[in-house]
């Protein structure tokens, strides 16, 4: 027996570690994205070291991106000038509509659904493998950030906080394969569910209304209490109707450029319900 153990000690050690990994995986499924004390400790220790060491590189990346930006700034400038003329016309119309909207909102005493952010944070890290779509931000429990909170930008929804330690937190993006967001089509008010697919786009599933067209804006429904109602998730980018009139595959392009997002706001979580599932 001892001889057998001694001969196959590496194999046995590998087996034990693989089983331990699978156990962690299994318990992680039970407790959502909770990584336990050791996982939090890794994030706690690693995040400040990484922030210090990566700072000069971030500055270099910023300079490089600005230089690349300058290379085609002339073309962009010409294009933007013509767009600017068109937008000025639209803006005048929208200002009138906004003023009208404000008057009507006040009249109906509509409550603004967006809660003020708990904290603002900078993105300090991005997931290293394409299987997972996560970010690390530099705000944590010390700033009032906790698991389950919605992460947004001015444009729209980014994701939700999975793990938080005092000065950092891990954010799961809406494009991650495990992310689900209860949503509605803004135009028709039809219910749907946004599924992350591990790609740069998401899909719409469980539509209650087949009336959906390219360009339709999808917003959070507020159901489940994780994401406040009315945050823009994305815009319908393509619809595969197959041989029937009912849409079969609907792709959604997030309004936030999740590969380039730099600063985010964190909104307070309400009791977790069916709005976010795994």
């Amino acid at each position: 027996m001892f001889h057998f153990l001694s001969q196959h000690r590496v194999l046995l050690l590998v087996l034990v570690l693989v089983l331990l990994g699978l156990h962690l995986l299994s318990s992680g499924l039970k407790h959502q994205t909770d990584v336990g004390v050791f996982g939090k400790a890794v994030l706690y220790i690693y995040s400040p070291i990484y922030q210090v060491l990566s700072w000069p590189f971030q500055k270099i990346a910023w300079l490089v991106s600005k230089y690349i930006y300058l290379v085609d700034v002339r073309d962009t400038n010409t294009r933007l000038r013509s767009q600017n003329q068109q937008l000025k016309g639209q803006l005048a119309r929208f200002e009138e509509l906004e003023a009208e909207n404000q008057r009507l909102s006040a009249l109906l005493k509509l409550k603004n659904s967006a809660d003020p952010p708990v904290a603002y944070a900078r993105v300090v890290g991005r997931s290293l493998t394409p299987e997972f779509r996560t970010l690390i931000i530099d705000a944590g429990t010390a700033d009032g950030v906790g698991p389950g909170m919605a992460v947004v930008t001015a444009e729209g929804l980014v994701g939700f906080v999975a793990v938080a330690v005092p000065h950092a937190a891990k954010v799961v993006l809406i494009t991650d394969a495990s992310a689900r967001v209860d949503a509605i089509i803004q135009r028709t008010r039809g219910q749907t569910m946004v599924f992350g697919r591990g790609k740069s786009q998401c899909t719409l599933e469980y539509l209650t209304d087949a009336d959906v067209v390219n360009g339709d804006r999808i917003i959070t429904s507020g159901i489940g209490g994780v994401f406040p109602k009315g945050i823009t998730v994305g815009v319908v980018s393509s619809i595969n109707r197959g041989q029937t009139s009912a849409p079969q595959g609907i792709w959604l392009l997030p309004v936030v450029d999740l590969d380039a997002v730099e600063e985010v706001a964190i909104l307070a979580a309400k009791p977790v319900g069916e709005g976010l599932t795994r």
């Binding site: 693989v18 990994g21 990584v35 991005r126 493998t129 299987e131 996560t134 599924f195």
Partner: protein
Amino acid sequence: MKKFLVFFLLGLLLLIAQAIWRMLFPGWRTSPEFLFILVVYSGVNRNPFIGPILAFCFGFMTDSLWGVQPGLTAATYTIVYFLSRLSGRRFYIRSYVYQVLIVALMTFLAKALVWFILSTLDSTADLGAVFWTTVWRQMLWNGLFAIPVVSQLERMEQRVSEDYAERFMGSFGEW
């Protein structure tokens, strides 16, 4: 113990280097996985005991920092270590061609394993398309970076090794 600590710290640095690379090129869907190359290197060099523990620790750290399913990368890296160890017995491990091929092959196996486990856990996850579109690029990245990373690791290992002279006499690769 000395080697474990040195390689553990090296792994931490590689993890940071990997994260910095990702920060520099945020739009790129794939990037070289230095830590993965270290795990394969550790397996190919048949490093008993500290190899699987290091592989597990690196996988666990990756899971804790970036992963969504805790334990997935830890289990995958440990399996990759073992498979690399098996292949290291049969091939001439100092060949550049072998280093590139083994790292690329292990990348494919690791990604396939992750895809399989995630698909098994969540039938709606539909990661098949992501797997097939990214795995080739990931194999290329890891394969290309295998040569410089492995040569640096070999150099470092030689410095750390206590039986420096003996290793040059022919038992290269054995810790």
